[in-house]
Amino acid sequence: MNWEYMLVQVVNGAVIGVIYALIAVGVTLVFSILKIVNFAHGDLYMLGGYCAYYVIEYAGFPPLLAMLVSMAALFVGAIVLERLLLTPLYSDRTERKDEYGLIVTFGLAFFLRNTAIIAFGPFPLKPPSFIPGVQRVGNLIVTNDRLVAGGIGIVLILALVYFMYRTIWGQALDAVSQSRDSAAIVGINARRFNSFAFGIGAALAAAAGALIAPIFSLAPGMGVLPNIHAYVIVILGGMGSVTGSIIAGLLLGEAENLFTAFFPDPTRAFAYTNAFGVLVLMVVLMFRPQGLFGRAHLRME
């Protein structure tokens, strides 16, 4: 085991971690505002990737612009879905909202995944690179796509953090997440922010999908594992904590890549990497359900 190999793994881990964090902050945002766990989040990520691919392919947009288009499209699409399916969550007449949110988002995931198989075909697709080529530092090789994905991912996350903590809209979101009624008293339209949070979450997932597409490739089932990873991160970082998700995302990306690198049986390392993340999830859920950075008012009753 040499140091350069490990350094490559650390860089790769950081890039994957940023992408994970981008998906996970969406889950956490939706959870803190709508109080549901979105089981279709991974499929929004998949749709984002495909959307960017088709914009590049048929409209001839450069990849970066395609990513923005895809984010906008998913933002609007997610708001439509939220209006159509999730409004019963805000009504007092709906019993057992947890169950409703669960089954509806789970059903939505089923629908989106199977529709994607028909619409996009079961075979993997690969969009062009953001910037072709690789960077070398000594014997270390990292593809430009990974650097671009990591860089844009960090920019988006910083933008979200700025938005959440420094703008009036972000603070309104925070207010709704803390208390819907008090937010309504000071004049915040909570319903509008439900849609908004769902849309933002989807847009971030779309960005993640567009960024990851040139590195791995696009497939209808690509959302399943990132979805589970997003839960690992969200549980680890604490439901509802954006900062927690970012830190936990990076932690998980690193932990997984190092796990793969150091697993004693290399033929099985890759398969068990995913199981490792899930195991972390289960252990955290058992012993510290509020996560590492959980916020008291967001604990699920």
Binding site: V37, L85, E99, I103, F110, Y231, I235, L279, L285
Partner: protein, 325 residues
């Protein structure tokens, strides 16, 4: 005729058993698979519909039951029923374990936890291929060596009937009331003297045991076990079946499994479009008819023999939660 629906059901069962050999091989297979899903759907409805424990690991238990039985039969040479029994025992024990571990979790946390569990099971089964033959599939002993599927039909029928009978007795007993009390409000149930922890573990153990039974039968019917028996797509299919039928009653859950499986086969010419269509039906069901599409049908059926009394302005037409089964 107070119990008209019971007699009608009994007559339908007898007719089905007598005329089963008229079915051609293809529809016989469909019927057997539908009964496999029927056991899974009813036991999942026991867990998710009655107790409110929305587990996404139910098909994982089916695959554990199937693999346990198949491997024990292969290694130790024990008889197949014994292997299936072992599968049930293993699933009960594991289910109780999972139930115990997630006692403090509710709603989405429980769903995520069990989703994680099922992923670990699937990954382990497909990776340890020197034991389980991985994605290539593990060849299993079949239950019968007959040319027709008729014996399997009777076995599946018997298993489904016994499962439904046992679960029906459970949900109509005092314990069943406790389970529903836990679903409505865990704290209130606890305050009224229901041993919440014990019954949550019990529900998990029982439902997982039935899943193991279904899985064991599946393994020795199909003759091959793959990790995809317990994957997320199968779980999604199970959720679709149970919710469309009506997850809060055992008969409607089984009906959902039968109807969805039959319609999936009837629409075979539409190929892949069938699954998204069922996705939409599921979403519409949740949005507009949360009790399930078969629940009104079943309630009407149950009321068939009752004298028609005109009670205007009463709650007769509201779905009655407590007149279950």
């Amino acid at each position: 005729m107070r119990r008209l629906h019971v007699y009608l059901l009994f007559a339908a069962v007898v007719l089905a058993l007598v005329y089963a050999d008229r079915l051609n091989a293809y529809w016989m297979h469909v019927a057997i698979i539908a009964m496999y899903y029927g056991i899974l759907a009813s036991s999942w409805s026991l867990l998710a519909g009655y107790v409110g424990l929305f587990s996404l690991g139910h098909t994982a238990f089916a695959s554990i039951g199937g693999y346990t039985s198949a491997l024990l039969v292969k290694w130790l040479g024990i008889s197949i029923p014994l292997g299936m029994a072992a599968g049930i025992v293993v699933c009960c024990a594991l289910g109780a374990g999972i139930g115990w571990v997630c006692l403090r979790m509710s709603g989405p946390y429980l769903a995520i936890f069990t989703l994680g569990f099922s992923e670990i099971v699937r990954i382990t089964l497909s990776t340890e291929d020197d034991v389980t033959a991985g994605m290539a599939g593990l060849r299993t002993e079949t239950l019968f060596h007959s040319a027709t599927r008729l014996p399997y039909f009777y076995v599946a029928f018997a298993l489904l009937a016994v499962s439904l009978l046992l679960m029906g007795l459970l949900v109509r007993s005092r314990w069943g009331l406790f389970l529903r009390a836990i679903r409505e409000d865990e704290r209130a149930a606890g305050a009224s003297g229901v041993a919440v922890a014990r019954f949550r573990i019990l529900a998990f153990a029982i439902a997982s045991g039935f899943a193991g039974l279904a899985g064991g039968f599946y393994a020795h019917y199909i003759g091959i076990m793959t990790p995809s028996v317990g994957d997320l797509d199968e779980m999604a299919k199970l959720v679709v079946m149970t919710v469309i039928g009506g997850m809060e009653r055992l008969p409607t859950a089984v009906g959902g499994a039968f109807v969805v499986e039959a319609v999936l086969e009837l629409l075979r010419e539409y190929g892949q479009w069938r699954l998204p269509i069922f996705g939409i039906v599921l979403l519409l069901t949740m949005r507009f008819a949360r009790n399930g599409l078969l629940t009104p049908v079943w309630l009407g059926f149950v009321r068939l023999g009752e004298p028609r009394v005109e009670r205007r302005g009463t709650v007769r037409d509201l779905p009655q939660k407590d007149s279950a089964a």
